[in-house]
């Protein structure tokens, strides 16, 4: 519910929040005259047929054997027991208005993305508000109710579809999101604590080592022991965590139901189910393969001889094999270019922003960005 709904429409004081024990008229059942003062358990119910209030035991007594006329003097409505409910709002007028709004909203449940633009959507909201206003205030009641019923009949399928979408969004999206946020928060919190604990252990261990060194023990032994101690502590903790995890696995939240193939209206985010995640591919599906040549392990070429054995070159990590690969890539780069394709491709591009995407080797050699040494 939006904040606005709270502040503008919903009265701040709810029934439960009211101090009990006053003797005001709404504390007395108009039918049997029981008063909340004498009977603190007295519950009042209303029926949206006429919104006349009476106590729960009167409802039981009068309507348990089937529909009956409202017992309030002058009211001729026929009421059914199942429709009685507790009053949500202090003011019965508000109670009734909310009911009407709920009913209207259930039928006029078009979604913003069904409209061409914001303007059209706003117009629609305005029309709906007119209808609502008429229903609440009894203006052109017959006409409005007929229009309402016509609309409901004409758009039954869409209404149902939108209602489903809405409830899916409500449950799968909002709830799920909240749950996930909470889980992420917990995980972060745990990670932070673990981080602190690790820091503490490292520090403690360091101090212990220093103490032993100061006490004149052999440095290499001390260091080795230190690592052992640290590792052991961690292992202990890991084991404890693992036990915890297994304990909790039992009451893990059920995996969310995914939305399957529901035809979604555009613009809605669909949440992916957790199991649907494919295994991690570090290469992200990209495989770099030479198309036009295969690379040999070695090439006999006197120019390269020195680079293959000079320690000053090798020890820095320079790799002749990589050079061979690069040289071949450069040499064959042109083969992958089909000018006719490029021309058609270029013609298709709208030239708004030119995003150059050529790969390196194809035109690499024109300006060589050498380091000046």
């Amino acid at each position: 519910m939006s904040r606005l709904a709270q502040s503008a429409f919903v009265p701040a004081v709810r029934r439960e929040a009211r101090p009990a024990g006053s003797d005001s008229p709404d504390e007395i059942c108009p039918v049997c005259k029981s008063s909340r003062y004498l009977n603190p358990n007295l519950r009042f119910l209303v029926n949206p047929e006429c919104y006349h209030k009476m106590c729960a035991s009167c409802v039981d007594r009068i309507f348990s054997h089937g529909p009956a006329q409202c017992p309030i003097a002058g009211c001729t409505r026929t009421l059914r027991k199942p429709r009685f409910r507790e009053q949500t709002f202090e003011d019965l007028k508000v109670e009734r208005e909310v009911d009407i709004r709920r009913k209207v909203a259930a039928v006029f449940n078009r979604r913003e993305d069904e409209f061409e633009d914001t303007r059209a959507y706003n117009d629609y909201l305005n029309d709906v508000e007119d209808i609502t206003f008429n229903l609440i205030n009894g203006i052109d009641l017959e006409d409005t109710e007929r229009k309402f019923a016509d609309y409901e009949r004409a758009h039954a399928d869409e209404i149902k579809e939108n209602a489903e979408l809405e409830s899916q969004e409500q449950s799968s999206y909002r709830v799920l999101q909240k749950k996930e946020r909470e889980q992420i928060r917990l995980r972060r919190e745990a990670a932070r604590r673990e981080e602190e604990e690790d820091k503490r252990l490292v520090e403690e261990n360091r101090r212990e080592q220093l103490r032993r060194l100061a006490a004149g023990q052999d440095a290499s032994v001390v260091e080795k022991d230190g690592q052992q101690v640290q590792l052991k502590r961690r292992m202990d903790r890991r084991a404890a965590e693992e036990r915890q995890r297994q304990l909790h696995a039992r009451d893990a939240p059920p995996t969310p139901v995914t939305n399957g193939a529901t035809p979604f209206i555009k613009g809605l985010k669909q949440r992916k189910g957790k199991e649907a995640e494919p295994p991690v591919d570090a290469f992200d599906g990209i495989r770099y393969k030479h198309q036009y040549y295969s690379l040999q392990d070695d090439y006999t070429y006197s120019f390269l001889d020195n680079a293959k054995k000079d320690a000053r070159i090798l020890a820095g990590g320079y790799n002749v094999h990589e050079y061979n690969e690069r040289a071949l890539a450069d040499a064959f780069a042109g083969l992958g270019v089909f000018i006719a394709d490029e021309v058609t491709e270029r013609a298709k591009l709208s030239h708004d922003i030119e995003v150059p995407t050529e790969m390196a080797a194809t035109e690499a050699q024109d300006v060589k960005m050498e380091d000046p040494v």
Binding site: R3, L4, V98, L314, A315, G316, D371, V373
Partner: protein, 414 residues
């Protein structure tokens, strides 16, 4: 002395002294345009040549907004497409400096443009276009990455906590980006947390290609004076001019360690080469002919004595417990002293760490700066509400924007 760009202590190199030295920006309205002194045509309309016209056209497509940040050699501004204000970009305006005087252009920006043009990868920042303004200031139109950089997350220990799964997700994105560079024969040479920008969806983007270069041909020397000093591999401290993609892998390893410990792994203070070598010896082990054959032949090989033996796997595990044994194994192999034993970017991606538990976090689950309030705002816009108290027009353009309040009676608790 704070974070110093590697370039500041570059010894004068033949044609390019003071690479990336602090540069003074020329202000936009400085009108003396010596290089292209074209007298204004009658009526004020200036005659433009073709290149100038194309520049002007490109520039006219964007509306420049607030400054997003500034670095050693550039200021970065937010901007949007004139035709579609929802299309945000970042315009990186290269400062004009001494290098410009000599070359007519900043070489770093040429590198950046050249390499970014060639690289199209989800974890590498995108360059959309380039134009110059009347002072011949170069402007790079980049994708806008509004969530700051990885350094900010690492340092915000008070408000941001993250899990081993988050670290794995970030490292995986970084490793893919680096692998992609190397497959395209490009060395980045400035990998560090503040060059890893974060996109709105949480993706990591490798940025700042101002120090990148192609891998060298045999015998072609490369500069050893590059990569921000804390992230620089040992072979460069020994002034090797012949190296490989493994230099970037070392930087990635240092970033990995920093993500775990939330502290720079090799933070020598003051950050001199000597202190860095000593620190690496202390934390990893001393490079010797035993563990790194040939190292003593490198130009400036000197190490403190007595040598520290290589740290054991147990030691590494005790230092970096949270990523588990496979994570530590990967870290050790990325921070291997001998570049030939160090994993290549390809081998990094082949490591078991990525497929081991836990799974890398999904993008939407990654922590981000200011996550709390923003996340709440997002939730509220979705429901058609308002952000409490926050009167300023936020950038949140959720679906309820501009829509008359629709109260959700149908969903109200019955």
């Amino acid at each position: 002395m704070g974070l110093v760009s590697p370039a500041l202590d570059v010894p004068p190199e033949a044609e390019r002294p003071n690479k990336r030295a602090k540069l003074e920006p020329l202000t936009e309205d400085t009108s003396q345009d010596t290089s292209r002194a074209v007298s204004p045509a009658p009526g004020g309309a200036r005659h433009l040549d073709l290149a100038e016209r194309l520049d002007a056209e490109e520039r006219a497509k964007y509306v420049k907004g607030a400054k997003l940040g500034s670095g050693q050699y550039a200021d970065v501004y937010s901007a949007h497409l004139k035709t579609d204000p929802s299309q945000l970009v970042a315009i990186k305006k290269i400062k004009v400096g001494a290098e410009f005087e000599q070359w007519g252009v900043s070489l770093d920006s040429i590198r950046e443009i050249k390499f970014l043009q060639e690289l199209d990868h989800p974890n590498i920042i995108k360059l959309y276009s380039v134009f110059s303004t009347k002072n011949q200031n170069l402007n790079l139109v980049l994708e806008q990455l509004p969530q700051g950089d990885l350094l900010k997350l690492i340092q915000d220990t008070a408000d941001i906590s993250y899990t081993p799964a988050d670290i794995k997700a970030w490292m995986l994105m970084l490793s893919r980006a680096v692998h992609f560079c190397h497959v395209n024969h490009i060395l980045h040479r400035d990998i560090k947390p503040n060059n890893l920008l974060i996109a709105a969806n949480g993706e990591i983007k490798l940025a700042d290609f101002g120090l990148a270069r192609y891998m060298a041909d045999p015998y072609e020397p490369m500069t050893y004076n590059t990569i921000t000093i804390w992230y620089r591999p040992p072979e460069m401290f020994f002034q090797s001019k012949f190296y490989s993609g493994k230099v970037d892998v070392w930087s990635c390893g240092a970033v990995f360690a920093e993500l775990i410990a939330r502290d720079v792994m090799f933070r020598a203070i003051p950050d001199t080469e000597i202190n860095m070598i000593n620190l690496i010896c202390e934390k990893v082990g001393t490079p010797t002919e035993d563990n790194w054959p040939g190292v003593s032949k490198l130009p400036t090989y000197t190490v403190p004595s007595p040598p520290t033996p290589l740290k054991s796997a147990d030691h590494w595990r005790a230092m970096f417990p949270s990523v588990g044994p496979t994570g530590v194994d990967l870290l050790m192999k990325m921070l291997s002293l001998d570049p030939r034993k160090r994993l290549s970017a390809q081998e990094v991606l082949e490591h078991d760490y990525w497929t081991a538990e836990p799974r890398p976090s999904r993008l939407e689950d990654l922590p981000r700066k200011g996550g709390g309030l923003e996340a709440m705002g997002e939730e509220l816009t979705k429901m058609g509400g308002e952000l409490p108290g926050n009167g300023k027009p936020t950038a949140s353009r959720g679906r309820a924007d501009g829509v008359a309040r629709k109260l959700d009676f149908a969903a109200m608790a019955k």
